[in-house]
Assembly symmetry: D2
Homo-oligomer: 343 residues x 4
């Protein structure tokens, strides 16, 4: 079974599948270069010692207890392809051994940022509402149809959270030359300045923006950090666009702010998914709705496989992974974004 | 009446008004610096000779016959603030005298380009349809809601016409780093290349693009130049976005191409506006509708006044106008875009 | 002799030659498509009436009197390939007839801007001086060799004149993300703002810049407009880079400002060229010298031919020229930059 | 001595000093917020156990043996402000404990990249040589002075190594819109592509570039990897610019390639510094010389302090450092760039 030329990879990528994240051609290459052992989260600890001892990589995010980790004596890297880090292994032991734990969530940044800009333009120009009116024979022509319309070029834009997604949002905004304010308490100001933006406190950003994009992940510290006061502080008619996780927002307060006519909003994420059939947000004017569709594009899943493939090549050369994002000792335990169970 | 310090301006801006295109502060400055004679297209020829002889500028697009032009002996510039050039004066005489005829249509480029990108993102990600489904309780969650979804980043994009509007479209696309092909038979290839795009024939562009933006004005030569063959040559699932004038397209052929499922489309312009209540496009899936709303923003009209104001200052210094676009001897007679009668 | 298919072009491009500005392949195409009559400034008026009457284009900048112009009854465009406009024809008559007079000077913008940035970096980091010291065995190592060194990234940069050359300078500066101030009295502020820069008065620009680029042409109004006061107002250690014409500067005052150690300077142009062997600027420390070499690259001359070629194609289609720059009724008589007599 | 509010920092930054890397205002803040213990590489192990046990940070790059590391029981981060990593501590032990070892070398990227572009422009246009000729009364005017001159805009440019310095070089080149090829065997191709460049083998890059910038650090694997064959494969007249360390090049072979007239070169680094007074490179035409001055700017040293300051703040909040670059388990032992002994 042993083949020193073909490193052993344990595969338990659920809810992903190898076929979802690798093209057929790439999967064939993967099988040729590596010895793939396809298993499940549950079955993995029961694999023979010899298999675990040989495993150099894991593609998946299985729970690992201390004993299993000891048996995984050659392990170098765990590729979490669900992409939300969870507290399901003794990270101290993992990091002490220099095992990398990495995620492929960066693949979602581009599709989410693109639809996020689409949400912003739809809100600012009522693209969705005007289409619905036109179909109903209720359209208003010319300037009469532009009540509340605003331009994005040169607008004051705020981005909350400046990880992969926040950066992708900044990128798709480039042609609009916004005045960009960014709030990210985990990032030094220099990183924001070198991106051509202005570091801002949350208060400054909320009060000073025409459009706000929320891209921050949920942590142990930021649940519901955007509430009624924050929404009240926003400019009249401003657009609030929620792209990361519903738990960073006080959702009823957000709905109230939209219902009052003070702001407009769009959201791709909700506290309970799927959302109840009678949830009042479904009938709320000024609130653009999307059913957690922003990231889940086929092309994103295939990029996931490419990231794994290219980082495997670096690891094989004795280099650290580069494309995937590494879990950090300091922050891994603070993550609270719930994993998805469907693709 | 004469005041050599305050040049005389004839004002007949209908369908615009001075109040629409100038902010109150700017209008006060305008009245202080210039002698405004507010008139109408019809009344202008009947003004006293002394008034016409003094008039240095016209803000408006009145019909002028040869005789009236002779009486307008000090005329230097006509600011067409409707913005479509029309064949309503003896241009030879105008140009021989070095009178500038300029338009302020560039102010619409930014709002039209912004909504155009919004149309593209809505089509590629079904933002409007998914919102309607969500409101109806019919939403599909996650990847299940992304049938036909495509990314714009790195896509093949074509722009037909590369005037102010085409350039504005290219600008808002910057962050998406498209492979950009441009077709404009009035422009040398060097201008397209220096903008970082590829010159393309109409056939290449239609067949090789994931998204096509039409920004070309109607001329005596291009009525209906995009027809059934052109739509059939497009990539399956590509998006066709019409931003300039409906007359450049064979509209029934466009509807048929969308109805067949071959392409998706969005349009802000229609052959008959307002459109008949029973027009079949209102019921056509895959066709995003907008009632000639793309340009008519308050902010665009106020920029119109700013352009006029800044170019007046240049003309006062004996310099040519710079911000407004000049009618050209060679092309003025070819223009066929119909003026609007409402703002 | 007549051939309606092959428009007649009078060619008297001295100091250029057809071989300098067209590649052999392009020149062959030109001869195939057009009927070239090679002549000289002196011989042109003596050509037979039939030839003059047929001539549709001139490549060159011959003096033309009113009578000759009348005989040039089919003339549509004069391509000045020396590139400085001179007052050598009755422009009123030319413009009344709608004849375009265009120049190809834009080809020099790129090479001049590139060497201009090279001058700036050499001054800011003493690249040329450190090389000379190293060759003389007098180099200072590491930080000891960096007295007066400054970074360009994020610096305050001023550009005087924002035509083709000023724009090319702004372009090569892009990666340095300067705070860019621009002074150009012939341009509305909106043009400067849309280029991402700040309009500034001459005083603001001179006093507020770490590096100043002068790209303004000489006109009847601006001879010697940069004098002792302007240089005294500059920041200590700032760099002054002269790229257009020496006549816009009080050259002795510039030398005095450099000699005093207050500023550093570079110049590609001089009041008398070639410069006297004993001119004191040759011995002035802090003054980087270049013998009018900035634009005269082979590749620039070949682009000149390409501009002419592409604009001829537009004119043949009944369109106005686009790549070459048109002389303007209002400003043509104000130009004072002396033409060159050698390439 | 203990003060839980003021974390203890051991300072032994030689060859830097605290005064070099911190402004007076920042140093005062540093002293207020932290308990600074100023020591030396030699004295550090002899400090009392109580001091070592409290030390949370080290600013400096002292050799540390296993025993001293054990006594540094609270250590979280070592800030190497010399900036070359050296093999002077048991890194396994360091990494197992999760102690960060970081460097501040990124501060040199900007000044080195700027002078690197200056070298390129000087070589392509002979700015330094033409200035020397002008001073000697030997200048050639106009096109006659441009033998061998080339434009950078649109040129084929190669960058070897794509770390901080390589990226800074790409940034300052932006305005020149080069076709950029990058070779970096430690980086996945996706990183190069997302930067808008093309991944290339070393052979492709050397043979296909008009200008080559070398920014790669010396490792255990790449000493002298650019030799006679590589230089022979370059395009005639291409420019080779060495910015990182002389040891990556076969220097005599580089000199021979320049002496033969095949290529031009510039270098800021040399195998023995200071270079012997009679070293033949001092008399080599076509070789631009700089005495390791590229990075050593006052402003760079002050940014070093800022990076330390901002990353200290993150570490104080329990976050990982972000601005400084972390040593990696996998690569730290491969680094061979010699540290500097003077600033």
């Amino acid at each position: 079974m042993q083949d020193p030329e073909r490193p052993l990879v344990l595969c338990c990528p659920l809810p992903r599948t190898l076929e979802l994240i690798f093209t057929p051609a790439r999967l064939a290459e993967l099988r040729a270069r590596y010895q793939l052992v396809e298993t499940t989260d549950e079955a993995l600890p029961g694999l023979p010692d010899a298999v675990l001892a040989q495993a150099r990589y894991i593609i998946g995010q299985p729970p690992l207890d201390a004993g299993t980790l000891v048996r995984l004596s050659s392990l170098r890297c765990i590729f979490n392809v669900e992409s939300n880090l969870i507290n399901n292994m003794p990270y101290d032991q993992v990091f002490a051994r220099g095992i990398h734990v990495v995620t492929t969530g960066a693949v979602f940044a581009e599709p989410v940022a693109e639809i996020g800009l689409g949400f912003a333009l739809s809100l600012l120009r009522n693209i969705h509402g005007a289409d619905a009116d036109f179909r109903a024979g209720l359209e208003a022509w010319g300037g009469a149809g532009n009540a509340g319309a605003r331009l994005l070029t040169g607008a004051d834009v705020g981005i909350i959270g400046f990880g992969d997604l926040g950066r992708a949002v900044a990128r798709v905004l480039q042609g609009f030359r916004p005045r960009l304010r960014i709030h990210d308490p985990w990032l030094p100001e220099a990183r924001i300045i070198e991106a051509g933006a202005e570091p801002a406190s949350l208060d400054q950003l909320m009060a000073g923006s025409d459009v706000v994009f929320v891209t921050a992940a949920v942590t142990s510290e930021n649940r519901g950090f955007l509430g009624a006061d924050a929404f009240a502080s926003m400019r009249a008619g401003a657009a609030f666009i929620l792209l990361s996780r519903a738990d960073v927002v006080d959702f009823p307060a957000l709905m109230a702010a939209v219902a009052s006519g003070h702001i407009r909003a769009a959201s791709d994420v909700f506290s309970d998914e799927p959302l109840a059939a009678d949830h009042p947000v479904r009938r709320l004017p000024g609130f653009l709705l999307s059913a957690h569709r922003a990231g889940a594009l086929d092309v994103a899943f295939q990029r996931m496989g490419e990231m794994v493939w290219q980082d495997l090549a670096l690891l094989d050369k004795g280099l650290p992974p580069n494309l995937c994002k590494r879990a950090e000792r300091e922050t891994v335990a603070r993550m609270r974004s719930r994993p998805v169970s469907v693709n």
